[in-house]
């Protein structure tokens, strides 16, 4: 208790305590004098004797301070004040150090936040480690994460190793009507055991149970976010009626705020039971089809059961369901070859966002660690130079008996001040940066796919990184500057040889690292250029696209194509629209990718496993004209309707599989489709710019069964004038056609192409940004080093100039001094960049890892920057006044 009190007194009433101590020593002195005068000394004699007896007052006080509670905190406070004063004295250095560190820490924090949210984090559910994710496929091949419903039903009812199983099926946009007022939302079908298996409890009302997942049950659960957004968090929505695509449903509960579904990056607004699909979806019931894959399945291991045991057991069930359900020879073969796999599901179901960005984020973190290392080295170099200036002070203090550790601690305090400032600033940057990067990664999403909360993990990470860098850049100068050898050389002209070598190594390392970053940036920029320059086979200029979904307006069956046909007619009259068409898959698609197998070309039937794998699309008349794809034969026309003979247009690549001219020949695709080929279209990229050209079959959209194709088709319009003018007339045309319809996913084909390259652009942007940043850091480091060297060599330069050396010769002397360091660094950097390029190889497209343009470009750029950095001090050296320089000595 008393110790606490004295700690309080010492820390809080610091000044009073100091004064008290001072008074006490003073009083002692007075008493001593008095005593000695009493013993017969003169006043002057007494004073002298008292002074001798008292000894060194400051040393006494220092010792007293040491024994007092919080003494360590006291010295820290002293160091802190000293450091702040030192840093305030050189604001340029401080600003640069804090800014460069903050940028490094902030960027690392931003990427870490994304990495944490997308890759590391576990689902906020009960015991996430016991969750498993099911997929199936041939061993060693790509697995399919969508399972058939009978498999799920069998697993759910028969498994002994799982305590529960759940199935989900996201169904995308849904029109949620509240008292007649429409609004779109993202919906998901979930099985009755979804919430119980996950162990999620409601925030309001109740969540689904098995009894909800029955035909005829029309109930819905809202996500917390949607409840807040659309319903303002009102309590009275429980039990209230809403409509989903014009069908009545009842809200029964709200999910907890922390829960965002099982797939990272794909949050939904409301959930309905799986069986509600019968009412909501046009598709045929898939409940008993053992080979129709459409649901994602997860399970929870029973306590004590291992994932291997569960996989074994589930495989028995899986094979049995498969072989029971196999009807065709193909299905029998599938049933024989396919096996089920279970993977740990603590991070949720397979996630597109995670698949796409996991490797990339890891790579980015590595890259940023390099940048951060570089920034730290840079500050270490600058701190070393600053320490040089204080060399005499340090030497004196050491000579007077200050402990080395005490001095190191003081140096570290200075670094700590820098790191703390940078960490705070970096935290702000990372909060802003993670959002911005996510926005860049998913440019077309109306809402961020993740809730990036400002949380403890991120703060801890930033703090750890800041402290780590602080130790890194603080310890090197602290230990070097206080080493006994540094002491000896303090009086030596030109600094110690060791000190110079350390400087050079640091600057060389910076040059090497920044060259690696610049090379990687170059490779990604080249990748972006190559992808953009790919000829996609269509003309991407002046094409505007948008989607509508008539299902959201409650249209069913034949009313769907009829609505779209009316919209097409309306669009044709829109001012600015030169040609109009529609298709199920966009030329650059972010939603659909349809594949099938062609089993018969003309008269030639292909054996079961030798069918041509094709991608297919369904398009309206005029599609090829709108996109500028050359077409031989005839285009689809209005007469290609449901009751007319079935026709197809094929891509040139598929045409090559036919014997002779394919036009007029028959083609068999999928299970039961025979088509007459009426045209051959030029090859174009199906769905993705980076895809290699593939065989494509086009079918007429109004000859297709609506349930297959009419999931929010895309309308393509080739326009003249501006896209925004056109948009206004499109809006008008849509509401003339059907007031309840609203266009969405409105993009020009160029924008859509850019969006599809968002990852490449993000990488190119980030690597260029950090490459440039790193290069700049290296040059500042080099500049600092050369300035220091020039200062050290001022007398020598003066002497040379006095003896008649040309200024240009002196300049060359300095630049040459820098050249060696830069060249060695650059050579090391080139070697490392080969390794780095290997690591990013999978992300490159159409560019070799040793792409000469990227390598040469980066090297030349860096060398130019280095020469510029060395030239400034060189010029200063050549302008040395010989007299001043010599007087210096």
């Amino acid at each position: 208790m008393s110790r606490l009190r004295s700690l309080w007194r010492n820390l809080v009433h610091h000044n009073r305590v100091e004064r008290d101590l001072d008074d006490e020593v003073r009083a002692m002195f007075a008493l001593l004098v008095e005593e000695k005068v009493g013993a017969g000394m003169s006043e002057a004699q007494a004073r002298r004797a008292a002074t001798i007896e008292l000894g060194r007052v400051e040393s006494i006080k220092e010792q007293v301070r040491e024994v007092r509670a919080g003494a360590r905190w006291d010295t820290f406070r002293l160091d802190l004040r000293h450091s702040v004063r030192l840093l305030a004295r050189s604001p340029a250095f401080t600003a640069f150090a804090v800014a460069s560190l903050a940028l490094g820490i902030g960027a690392t924090g931003a990427i870490f936040t994304l990495f944490d949210n997308i890759v590391l984090r576990k689902l906020p559910v009960e015991e996430p480690d016991r969750l498993v994710v099911a997929s199936f496929g041939r061993p060693g091949r790509n697995h399919n994460y969508s399972l058939p419903y009978p498999q799920f039903e069998a697993i759910r009812t028969r498994s002994q190793t799982l305590s529960g199983a759940l199935a989900t099926n996201p169904f995308g946009r849904v029109n949620v009507g509240i008292r007649g007022e429409p609004g779109t939302a993202e919906g998901i079908y979930v099985s009755g055991g979804y919430y119980a298996t996950l162990g999620v409890s409601p925030a309001r009302g109740r969540l689904f149970e098995e009894t909800d997942d029955r035909p005829g049950q029309a109930v819905a659960v809202l996500s917390y976010g949607y409840w807040q957004r659309r319903f303002g968090g009102r309590e009275d929505i429980l039990g209230s009626a809403i409509t989903l695509n014009e069908l009545p449903f009842t809200i029964v509960g709200v999910e907890p705020a922390s829960f965002h579904g099982t797939e990272v990056g794909r949050p939904y607004d409301l959930a309905v039971p799986l069986r509600a699909r019968d009412a909501l979806d046009e598709g045929s019931p898939l409940w008993d089809q053992a080979f129709a894959t459409w649901i994602y399945v997860m399970g929870r291991l029973r306590p004590g059961a291992t994932i291997e045991q569960a996989e074994q057991e589930l495989n028995v069930i899986f094979r049995q369901v498969h072989s029971d359900g196999a009807r065709t020879p193909n299905e029998v073969r599938l049933a024989r070859e396919m096996t089920l796999r279970l993977q740990p599901g603590s991070r949720g179901a397979a996630s597109d966002l995670r698949n796409q960005y996991e490797r990339w984020l890891g790579m980015m973190l590595g890259l940023l660690a390099a940048v951060l290392l570089l920034a730290s080295l840079n500050i270490a170099t600058l701190l070393l130079s600053r320490a040089d200036v204080r060399q005499r002070e340090i030497a004196t203090r050491l000579a007077l008996g200050a402990g080395r550790w005490r001095l190191v601690r003081q140096f570290l305090t200075e670094s700590l001040v820098l790191a703390t400032l940078a960490g705070a600033l970096g935290l702000a940057i990372s909060v802003w940066g993670s959002r911005t990067l996510l926005r860049m990664a998913v440019p077309s999403a109306p809402q961020l796919p993740l809730e990036l909360a400002f949380d403890l993990r991120m703060m801890l990470f930033t703090a750890a990184v800041s402290l780590g860098t602080c130790l890194l850049f603080g310890l090197i100068p602290a230990i070097r500057a206080t080493s006994p050898r540094a002491l000896v050389s303090a009086r030596q002209v030109g600094g110690s040889r060791q000190r110079r070598r350390l400087d050079r190594v640091l600057v060389g390392a910076q040059v090497a690292l920044s060259l690696v970053l610049l090379v990687v940036a170059g490779l990604f920029l080249r990748t972006l250029g190559t992808v953009w320059a790919q000829d996609p086979g269509y003309d991407r200029r002046n094409v505007l696209m948008f989607s509508v979904d008539a299902r959201l307006a409650g249209k069913r069956g034949p009313a769907l194509p009829a609505t779209y046909r009316r919209l097409l007619d309306e669009l044709r009259t829109a001012p600015g629209a030169r040609a109009v068409s529609m298709s199920a898959v966009r030329p650059v698609s972010d939603s659909y990718y349809f594949v099938s197998v062609v089993s018969k070309l003309g008269d030639k039937a292909l054996p079961n496993d030798q069918g041509v794998r094709v991608a297919f699309n369904v398009v309206a008349p005029g599609y090829f004209g709108v996109l500028g794809i050359p077409l031989a034969g005839r285009d689809f026309a209005d007469r290609d309707s449901l009751d007319a003979p079935r026709v197809a247009i094929i891509s040139a690549r598929l045409a090559r599989h036919f014997a002779g001219n394919p036009i007029g020949q028959q083609l068999e695709m999928g299970r039961d489709g025979t088509y007459e080929v009426v045209g051959v279209a030029g090859d174009s990229r199906y769905a993705r710019v980076k895809d290699s050209p593939r065989e494509v079959v086009y079918l007429p959209i109004f000859q297709t069964q609506p349930r297959h194709i009419f999931y929010a088709p895309t309308f393509e319009i080739r326009y003249t004038g501006s896209a925004s003018d056109l948009m206004a007339s499109i809006q008008a045309a849509v509401s003339r056609t059907e007031p309840a319809l609203a266009p969405f996913r409105v993009r020009t084909l160029e924008e859509q192409t850019q969006d599809s390259l968002s990852r490449e652009r993000l990488i190119a942007f980030l690597t260029s940004y950090f490459g440039a940043f790193a290069g700049l850091l290296a040059c500042i480091g080099l500049y600092g080093l050369m300035s220091y060297r020039v200062t050290q060599r001022t007398p020598e330069m003066g002497l040379r100039l006095a003896l008649g050396a040309q200024p240009s010769a002196v300049r060359w002397l300095v630049v040459r001094d820098a050249t060696a360091t830069v060249l060695v660094g650059a050579a090391a950097g080139l070697v490392c960049s080969f390794l780095a390029a290997r690591m990013v190889q999978s992300q490159l497209f159409g560019v070799k890892t040793h792409d000469p343009i990227a390598l040469a470009g980066a090297t030349v750029l860096l060398l130019m920057m280095a020469v510029a950095a060395a030239y400034l001090p060189a010029r200063r050296a050549s302008r040395t006044d010989p007299l001043t320089a010599l007087r210096h000595e």
């Binding site: 208790m1 009083a27 000894g55 007092r68």
Partner: protein, 110 residues
């Protein structure tokens, strides 16, 4: 002048506590009283006295307050606390044990 023994820290603490236990005193007084009760064997210099006084105060064995000396000078007076009193007893016992043991050890060798 008598021989000045090196002061072990524990010894110094014991001496200070003992001296203050005889009555509150200021720094110089404590130093002088120690010299007096040890008959000049121990002469505590301010360089060791002040840190020791503050250390004992931090531990709660001594308490201090400002007061007036006999010659009406302002001085900081130290007095022993209850825990200080207990500590003094503990140290005295420990010291007596040491003395006893040392005495026996020395006797046995002679």
């Amino acid at each position: 002048v008598s021989q000045k023994a090196d002061l072990l820290q524990g010894t110094l603490d014991l001496l200070i506590l003992k001296s203050v236990a005889l009555g509150p005193n200021h720094g110089l007084g404590i130093s002088r009283r120690i010299a007096q009760i040890t008959q000049g064997t121990f002469d505590v210099k301010p360089g060791s006295l002040f840190p020791a006084l503050h250390r004992l105060e931090e531990r709660g064995w001594l308490a201090s307050s400002w007061g007036e000396s006999e010659s009406n000078r302002r001085a900081k007076y130290y007095r022993i606390t209850k825990t200080g009193q207990r500590q003094l007893e503990v140290e005295v016992r420990a010291w007596q044990r040491t003395v006893l043991a040392m005495g026996r050890a020395i006797d046995s060798t002679s």
